[in-house]
């Protein structure tokens, strides 16, 4: 409030209304920087970055912009959408063997298929394109594996995920034209794309039609009732099917005559587009407005206000790591307004991550039970985050038979570590459990051992254990400095003298038990990497 206004109020005998007391207590700047770095890049902030926000909390705004521009940001968006679109599953109807892919490349195959649609989204967000592009793009994202098995033109001389183009003449509809989406959400032949239409409603406008109760019995006479007729005429059925059928009718270019056939599933079939209206006896439409086909459907969805709202909601749930409640309406509205101006998701992310709700680290005494129940003040690292953090620290690559062990469930530990598999588990773990604690332990021990091998090897330049060598002992100032630096880097907290003392004692105990200095340092690092402060953010 300006001085003039204060003077006027004082003259009138009024006191300015105090700012509403908050029920949330913010994280300290360094911990908040750690949270933001993990959310936007999937890695820990550097010591320099922590020092920046310690010196000036406003530096976080600068760091936010840097991190939004970081190449790792796109990977984080992939992880966030993986938790909500569930396309990255461990298998599809068509296996790698159907394509004659030899060797243990199943992991790469299934991940390529499952990641295709969410990589379109990630590319749109990361490159500041209008969000509507996700349902209107004439391109897709492809890996060399996808380009090798599907009708896709992949840029010559490139590697990894690249913007590419289907060559089978499919409509330009972004994710709606991505095989990966429809392999994850297939249609049984007589389901006539209805399940796929329901997926569109859930993923793109956050309307879960399938959660509504269905009652087919009671008054239904199975002898007299043709189910497809009932879907068109029964008022109870129409509550959902009035929306579903016209959307399903637009998807028949993806309708397979054989739902187990690779060729049927990998190609778009333009000649089947007319089957939709014929089989479903309804004209293609989106929410009552006619559309001329799949590309038009993509445009109609992108123009629906619910589309933008759903996009912001999806990213907000990913960043806040919880279901949203009515308390979040104001925040969502602000993020939505910011997003809508340019259809730019980064604008929404800026608002969301600068919010009080995002920054909360605890509750004040004013918080009531409802606030406590509906607010997340601390998040648990799930498997994908453990993986990217360890990768950032020491290049951890825990793979076996080319399966990333922290990103699959066929052989690995994705769900056991707290993530989702999109098949049996749909909610990331919010609290540590037995298997997530064990997963964190094994990641910590391997990461610690790799750091020690890197930092304490002969002639090595330590990247985490600064100033430390295998010869350093507790009496050396470098020892304490090394412990403090590692503590600070991993937990974003300055250790107390007690913290340093107990870690030093652990170091000495390992040595006394016959271990080497490397064993002792690995123990210190493993303790920190398993710390309750580390496995949360």
């Amino acid at each position: 409030m300006g001085l003039v206004a204060l003077a006027i109020l004082s003259f009138l005998g009024c006191q300015p209304a105090p700012a509403p007391a908050s029920v949330l207590a913010p994280l300290d700047p360094a911990r908040l920087a750690r949270r933001l770095s993990i959310d936007l890049r999937g890695v820990l902030p550097s010591l320099d970055e922590l020092d920046m926000v310690d010196a000036d909390p406003a530096a976080l705004d600068t760091l936010r912009e840097q991190w939004l521009a970081d190449p790792l940001f796109e990977e984080r968006i992939v992880q966030l959408y993986q938790e909500q679109w569930f396309t990255v599953v461990d298998g599809f109807v068509v296996s790698k063997d159907d394509y004659g892919i030899s060797g243990p490349r199943n992991y790469e195959y299934v991940h390529s298929v499952g990641e295709e649609p969410i990589r379109i989204i990630a590319r749109v967000i990361a490159t500041d394109q209008a969000y509507s592009v996700i349902t209107t793009a004439d391109w897709t994202m492809a890996s060399p594996t996808l380009a090798g098995i599907w009708p896709i033109a992949y840029p010559e001389g490139e590697s990894g995920w690249q913007m590419s183009y289907y060559t089978d003449g499919r409509p330009a509809a972004g994710v709606l034209s991505a095989n990966g989406l429809w392999w994850r959400y297939p249609t049984a032949l007589n389901n006539n794309n209805r399940l796929r239409a329901a997926a569109i409603f859930k993923l793109l406008v956050c309307t879960d039609l399938l959660s509504r109760p269905v009652s087919l019995s009671g008054d239904v006479d199975v002898d007299q009732t043709d189910p497809s007729e009932a879907i068109r005429t029964d008022p109870a059925c129409q509550e959902c099917h009035a929306s579903i059928e016209p959307v399903a009718a637009t998807l028949f270019g993806f309708y397979p005559y054989n739902d187990q056939s690779a060729v049927e599933l990998e190609y778009y079939h333009p000649e089947r587009e007319a089957l939709g209206p014929e089989l479903l006896q309804v004209e293609p439409a989106w929410q009552g407005s006619p559309v001329s086909g799949l590309a038009d459907l993509g445009l109609a969805i992108a123009a629906d206000p619910l589309f933008g709202e759903c996009a912001v909601r999806t990213i907000a749930e990913g960043l806040l790591r919880r279901e949203l409640s009515e308390r979040d309406a104001e925040l969502l509205a602000a993020a939505g307004t910011s997003f809508a101006a340019r259809e730019n998701m980064k604008d929404a992310i800026r608002i969301l991550t600068a919010s009080e709700a995002y920054s909360a680290g605890g509750f004040t005494v004013l918080a009531d039970a409802a606030v406590v129940a509906e607010t997340s003040t601390r998040r648990m690292l799930v498997t994908s985050q453990l993986r990217s953090i360890a990768d950032g620290l020491v290049g951890l690559n825990w793979s076996l038979h080319e399966y990333d062990q922290l990103d699959n469930d066929a052989l690995g530990y994705r769900v056991l570590g707290g993530s989702v598999d999109g098949y049996d588990v749909f909610t990331p773990q919010r609290r540590p459990g037995l298997t997530s604690a064990l997963t964190a332990q094994r990641v910590a021990e391997v990461t610690a051992a790799l750091i020690v091998a890197r930092d304490l090897g002969e002639g090595a330049t330590p990247q985490l254990l600064y100033g430390v060598s295998a010869m350093t002992v507790p009496a050396d100032p470098a020892f304490t400095d090394g412990v403090r630096a590692a503590y600070r880097r991993l937990l974003a907290v300055h250790p107390t003298d007690e913290d340093v003392a107990e870690l030093t004692s652990a170091w000495q105990a390992v040595l006394d038990a016959g271990g080497t200095p490397e064993d002792a340092w690995a123990c210190v690092l493993a303790v920190l990497l398993r710390d309750a402060e580390f496995v949360t953010y």
Partner: protein, 453 residues
């Protein structure tokens, strides 16, 4: 390489607990016991509700009740199996019998007195994922604990593996901590003994046992301290809750090494999996175990074409169930062992499928989804020897007076259609928990299905 840790070579991946080794385990467990399924069931023992355990078997994909549970031979609206199927009646049950499904006959014949069949259960959806959520939580809202999680949290004493998922779905609220998944290849065992990283990092210097002990102690001590500390400047927050959960998880992980022989996976062998689940419950490691059955040779239960696959699926599933019940009945119970009770008195087996199938064949010779189905309650706490509920002429459900289990087709005695919430309430009641308190209004147990209810 982790020194002196037993190495689960893995092909760690590959499998560990083979059927042979499991049968060895079982032999040890039931040494000298009769196989009562064939020779007469042992006397039942009184078991405290809070000591009961639960085994959920989900026939994933949607089974067709007309192959076992719904002998609708006189109903022209229903396409019944085209084989030699005929109705059979014994021990209070009427089922669909066929020479090609001898295990179905054997299950009802040998264990009919311990089985309560629920027919006409309405699961109000026709989408697999939603039906599974409905079946196990009673609703479609995300973020709600399933019945297994609730049952595990109500155990009289803390069990480190409260709610074990061998396979199949689980649904939990954000704050839930008690779900333990084994992994499809028994990955939990490899996590426990540390062998999970051996093949990837064969030359890495991993903790010696003594270093491991030092590490574990300090991690636990620091987590314990964090669970008690206030996180400045906030007066309270989730950090303490998460740290407390972490402390508990670390303690649980340290306490289950003696069960590791049961956690190593079963080579995708449904029978071995089912038997291992029974042994795990018998050894007091868990209160709930869930496993999914994907049909004979993983052919799935979701037959939109060639509905005859249901016959093979039922025969396979019921054969496995028969072996499970034999082993449970032959294993002395933990609580009632002294007076002759068996594990079957303590374990409630729930056999279910997330949906049923449309009464009539489609053009591909299969059957599509249908929201009415059947479910089996077997063993501990169950009033067996009866069927509750029924199908109407259109394979819909028939209202039932929940307190008695009596049919009330016209609804004049307050009968209602049986829904998953009633099943959940029944299980909670069997466990000695208050269903309404746990599941909310409307969670009325099917009193007629409960032993002594």
């Amino acid at each position: 390489m982790r020194r002196s840790s037993p190495r689960l070579t893995p092909a760690a991946l590959a499998p560990a607990l083979a059927r042979r080794s499991l049968l060895t385990l079982l032999a040890g467990t039931v040494a000298g016991a009769l196989v009562p399924g064939r020779l007469g069931l042992p006397a039942r023992a009184a078991v405290a509700s809070s000591d009961r355990k639960f085994l959920f078997v989900l026939a994933r994909g949607g089974w067709d009740p007309t192959w076992v549970f719904a002998p609708e031979f006189d109903n022209s609206s229903v396409d019944m199996p085209g084989d030699d199927s005929e109705p059979a009646t014994q021990s209070g049950h009427t089922w669909v019998s066929s020479a090609s499904r001898p295990s179905v006959d054997a299950l009802f014949t040998n264990y009919g007195s311990r089985i309560c069949t629920i027919n006409g259960l309405v699961v109000p959806s026709v989408a697999h994922e939603q039906c599974s959520r409905l079946l196990f939580t009673g609703g479609t809202s995300p973020g709600v604990d399933d019945f297994q999680t609730r049952l595990a949290s109500g155990a009289s004493s803390h069990l480190p593996l409260g709610n074990v998922i061998f396979s199949g779905p689980s649904y939990t609220s954000p704050g839930a901590t008690g779900v333990v998944r084994l992994g499809r290849r028994g990955q939990l065992a490899a996590l426990l003994d540390g062998s999970c990283t051996d093949d990837t990092f064969p030359s890495l210097h991993l903790p010696t046992p003594s270093a491991q002990g030092i590490e574990d102690s300090l991690v636990a001590a620091r987590a314990s301290r964090a669970s008690r500390a206030a996180l400045a400047p906030a007066s309270r927050g989730e950090q303490q809750l998460i740290s407390a959960a972490y402390v508990a998880a670390l303690a649980d992980a340290a306490s289950i090494s003696e069960l590791s022989d049961l956690l190593a996976g079963t080579e995708d062998d449904p029978l071995a999996e089912m038997l291992a689940a029974g042994v795990l419950l018998g050894r007091g490691g868990a209160r709930c175990v869930t496993l999914a059955d994907d049909g004979d040779l993983d052919a799935t239960w979701d037959q939109h074409s060639v509905i005859a696959q249901q016959s093979k699926n039922y025969e396979c599933l019921f054969g496995n169930l028969l072996a499970l019940l034999d082993s449970l009945a032959a294993t002395p119970g933990q609580a009632g062992g002294a007076d002759g009770g068996s594990l079957l008195d303590e374990v409630t087996v729930v056999v279910c499928s997330e949906m049923g199938r449309y009464p009539q064949l489609n053009s591909a010779g299969g059957k599509d989804h249908w929201p009415t189905t059947s479910l089996l309650l077997i063993g501990g706490g169950v009033r067996g020897g009866q069927g509750i509920g029924d199908y109407d002429g259109n394979m819909g459900g028939t209202p039932v007076v929940l307190s008695t289990g009596e049919l009330d087709p016209d609804g004049v005695h307050g009968g209602v259609l049986i829904e998953p919430l009633h099943i959940g309430a029944t299980l909670l009641a069997i466990a000695g928990m208050d269903p309404v308190e746990a599941l909310g209004p409307g969670a009325e147990a099917i009193g007629g299905a409960i032993e002594g209810g």
